[in-house]
Amino acid sequence: MATEEKQGMNRRDFVKGLAAGGAAGFIGAMGIYSYSPWRKRHFPKIVSKNIDIGECKSIKITNISETSWFNNADLMGDIKGAGGLLVNQYEYNWPPFTEKNGKLGKGSYEKGIKEIKQWLPNNLEKAHEFQMENAVHPENAGGYSCLIDVELLDGSRKKILLDSGWSYGWTDKCFKREGIDKMLANKEIDRLIISHEHFDHFWGLPVTMKYDPEIPLYVPDGFYPEGRQYIKDSGHRGKVTYVKPGLHPIFPGFATYVFPIPIICRVYGEQSLYFNIKDKGLVSVTGCCHQSIIQFAETARRNIKYEKNYGVYGGLHISPFEDWDPKYDDLVISLGKYGFEKIGCNHCTGIVTAKKFIEAGYPIVKGTARFRSKDTAYLGNGDTIEFKA
């Protein structure tokens, strides 16, 4: 009897030990495995297409305007009031597409353009005046635009305008401040690239048309009928290229990439830019980066032949409304892994994010906070950044 009890105890002890040891062994193996190189065995192997886009000598970017709007609360209030983030942007009754005494969320492209078409593109002051009187929060409209001055290997230069702002008044003022008006009039700017159809990047199009209506225009293929019509109504008379999703080398050292992605306010597709600087590496330039900075950098890695990441410029779309969520920290950490040597961020990156980048020790190029840009933590209006060997 005593021996049977003892055997029972021994068996119970063994089973208890087996259960504890089994759990410890399983969890321990999990831990060791997740930190070992074996963990990558299930990942698909990434082989870059290594597309050669050539090289250029340097680029200099002038931030014409990064302040797309001036008051976050007004902008978000309007979007919520009109029905939320999926509402068609042409229905807001924001400038320039406003009817008389425009009511929030009750507008349309047709009603708005009818009021201003007669003044496009040569009498924008009149159109601006009408918008200031009738649109919803017209004073909140700013715009995004930058000039990229590229030096090719043979020493020649090409100028690219990325985006054309939003408010006619603000965009024109910024163009004049940076001499863009004269460059356009003298045909010094080779092409206008529109990153995406959002109001703050595209709706100021007639301002560019006022100075150079024949400028070659590159827009992502996902433009909606209103956007396509607006190009015509703005007075554009040059060639329009609707860029299909994927990589598009344009001249040595420069290519654009269209990401086929849905974006808030009923927009589809974003076009970003890659420059390959000789002896330095790749510079990625973006309007808003709705595709996310990770996809932007990964797309380069999977498609383009280049030595290393050198720099990035533009809106990185992390905290455009200056909010913060712990998951954004992952983006901040991830950015560090790409080894950028120079980061010029602004616009929808968010000031909070720029400060987090600085705290993390990233090579952020600071700004001067002039012309209504709010903080020196990032490149503001009128600031410049150079990427060269």
Partner: protein
Amino acid sequence: MSGQYKAGIYAGIVLGVAVYFLVVWALPILGRLNWMFI
């Protein structure tokens, strides 16, 4: 702690590690099978 308990722990650790790796290695293989034809 009895000798049996200790022996159980050692055996359990070996078993736990074995089961984990079996799961990690075997599941993707099983996942590739077309279960409709089994």
